[in-house]
């Protein structure tokens, strides 16, 4: 609260909830259309935006939309793990790679169409990732982070050294979804399901237990709840989301290769979450929606793009760690005014 002299009197800046916010906090929100709109508008805008935007986008930007969706899903998974399960995941690449290769291998070995490979790869991939990460779930968070960082390299070198799963050339000519609209709406719908599903989840019992586990895991453990099992569930959920993203990319271009384990897939979701605001999922979405098209726009810059990118990330992390969404939320729900001291 900055205190300043204004008009010779001392004033102080104060933030209070908007009137409409107060009125909509309880059941009484249902009493008036205006209040319902206030509550529903942001969500409705989001849903409408995601569902209608593809109709207006030129073809290139439809592709970008799909890629944004992929990074958004990775960001959701990261956000969920870091804010509710208590793990920092440096391994978006792991999910992309496992999901993509599972889908690719299933498609090339068994010839299944994308409508089957997508769900299979999602859950099978999720299970595989969880199994891979299980040894670290008993330990402190940093070991999980290191494991997620290291696994992509292991897989890359395994594939390279053993020349399996297509080796360095990867698997190509896999079945894709021919209809662009189906592709894009599958992604849009899945993003919405995950977003609202996760937000729902954290208000359910499971979510509450997760949050207490983050606060004080010894206490939760003392209450008789097996926290390792909880963590397994958390990691499984996140991995399924991430693996869907990987499987989707495989279906999008009809190919999968070692580059699915690229570092970029680990970094950008983190950046998106940091910039958008961790903990709210919508923040991660916002971050991804800003970063991915921005990356596309300034593609011509080469390394300057990466430098600007790092700079923005550093600025956000160091100076404004809460992110953009909480700021916007505050603006929406509260207003500021000067009051006399």
């Amino acid at each position: 609260m900055a205190a300043e002299l204004q008009n010779g009197r001392e004033k102080r800046r104060e933030r209070i909830d908007r009137g409409i916010k107060v009125r909509t906090d309880g059941l009484y929100a249902l009493l008036s259309w205006r209040e319902i709109c206030y509550l529903v508008a942001p969500r409705a805008l989001l849903i409408a935006g995601l569902l209608i935007a593809p109709l207006f986008l030129p073809t290139l930007w439809q592709r970008v939309f799909c890629l944004t969706g992929i990074y958004t899903l990775l960001a959701f998974a990261y956000d969920f793990l870091v804010s509710y399960v208590g793990f920092v995941s440096l391994g978006g690449a792991l999910w992309m790679g496992i999901g993509g290769y599972t889908a690719g291998i299933i498609a090339s070995e068994f010839g299944l169409p994308p409508v089957l490979t997508l769900p299979i790869a999602t859950f099978l991939g999720g299970a595989v990732c969880t199994l891979l990460l299980m040894p670290t779930l008993r330990l402190r968070g940093i070991y999980f982070a290191i494991a997620t960082f290291v696994y992509p390299f292991i897989f890359t070198h395994l594939i390279e050294a053993l020349q399996i799963a297509g080796g360095t050339l990867g698997l190509m000519n896999l079945p894709t979804i021919q209809n662009d609209w189906v592709l894009i709406y599958t992604m849009a719908v899945f993003v919405l399901i995950v977003l609202f599903g996760l937000r729902r989840l954290i208000s359910e019992d499971l979510g509450i237990v997760f949050r207490s586990m983050m606060e004080n895991d010894q206490a939760v453990s003392a209450a008789g709840i097996n926290i390792v099992f909880l963590k397994i569930i958390g990691v499984f959920i996140a991995s399924c989301i991430g693996c869907f993203a990987g499987a989707f990319l495989c279906v999008l271009y009809g190919s999968v290769s070692m580059s699915f384990f690229a570092l970029d897939f680990s970094i950008l979701p983190i950046a998106a979450t940091v910039i958008g605001g961790a903990g709210t999922f919508a923040g991660a979405l916002l971050g991804a929606v800003v970063l991915v098209p921005l990356t596309e726009l300034i593609r011509g810059f080469g390394s300057l793009r990466m430098v600007a990118y790092s700079l923005i990330l550093v600025l956000f992390v160091a100076l404004k760690p809460v992110g953009v969404l909480p700021y916007l939320t505050r603006k929406y729900e509260q207003f500021e005014r000067w009051v006399e001291v």
Partner: protein
């Protein structure tokens, strides 16, 4: 016999790359993911000094000084603001590292660049030919380890660092300034990265991507050895180096990187704090 000699040289390389990183983490609990960036930046700084006409020894000394300053700058400018929040520290330091490496590329350092080796020629050691530069590498590694050992055991500043590393609150109560210790550790750690760069990079071409590779090795060795432990870093370097060399000899070159990563995984499963990690194993388990 070549396995022994080249295993040792490999170990010396790892020690040089990892020592600074491990030291920084041990003292300030900040994982400095910009370590690799400082490493390669120093290489280009040396190149720039040479271009301007300084003689080699002077260029090297100045470059190491620059690397220490960069380390201080990174800490005071950015890391100090996010100290304590693990996720933010990792992201911030990695972003800084990435920024530096991409900046190097952007400025135009793409293509054939190299720093000259100190002395041309080679020597025969126990029947194995070793070039002089690699002997310098081993020498530098030994010197670095001795330096850190003496520093942390016998100098007041070093003891302060160890105090902070052991128990931050107790040390603060004794009047040791945590931020200053962290700054010092970052200066020394980055300076060590600079020393590594000065002696290792002339072995090949200079290109920005080396920053990422160096970071990977630093992290790998530090984890296996135990973050913050000098003995652990040395032991882990030896173990990993020989593991790598033996694997290449017996199984073939394609496994050389994989064996390092698998070692990390094995350590994570069986002894997460590393060889001599200071964190007791009990604390590691939830």
């Amino acid at each position: 016999m070549d396995i022994v000699i080249y295993g040792l040289i490999n170990a010396a390389t790892f020690i040089l790359l990892a020592l600074g990183f491990s030291l920084i983490y041990g003292v300030s609990r900040v994982a400095n993911f910009a370590h690799g960036a400082v490493y390669i930046l120093t290489g280009f700084v040396v190149w720039a000094f040479l271009k301007v006409g300084l003689n080699y020894p002077l260029a090297i000394i100045l470059a190491v000084g620059v690397s220490a300053l960069v380390g201080i700058g990174i800490y005071q400018g950015i890391l100090i603001r996010v100290r304590g929040i693990a996720a933010s520290e990792v992201i911030a330091s990695f972003a800084v590292g990435m920024g530096i490496i991409e900046l190097i590329k952007m400025v135009g350092f793409v293509g054939s660049f190299g720093n000259p080796i100190f002395v041309r020629g080679s020597a025969e050691i126990a029947g194995v030919t070793v070039d002089y530069q690699r002997l310098f590498v081993v020498g530098a590694a030994v010197a670095a380890v001795l330096f850190v050992f003496i520093l942390t055991r016998f100098t007041k500043a070093g003891l302060a660092l160890r105090g902070i590393a052991q128990d931050e609150h107790a040390a603060m109560m004794l009047g040791i300034n945590s931020d200053r210790s962290a700054t010092v550790s970052l200066a020394i750690g980055s300076g060590l990265a600079g020393v590594a760069a000065v002696v290792l990079l002339p072995l090949g071409d200079l290109y920005a991507g080396i920053g990422y590779e160096a970071l990977t090795y630093a992290v790998a060795v530090s984890i296996v050895g135990g973050l913050g432990s000098l003995g652990g870093t040395v032991l882990a370097s030896l173990v990993l180096a020989f593991l790598q060399v033996l694997t290449v000899q017996l199984l073939g070159g394609q496994w050389r990187m994989l064996v390092i990563f698998l070692a990390i995984l094995v350590i994570l499963v069986f002894k997460p704090s590393g060889f001599f990690g200071r964190q007791k194993e009990l604390e590691e388990r939830v």
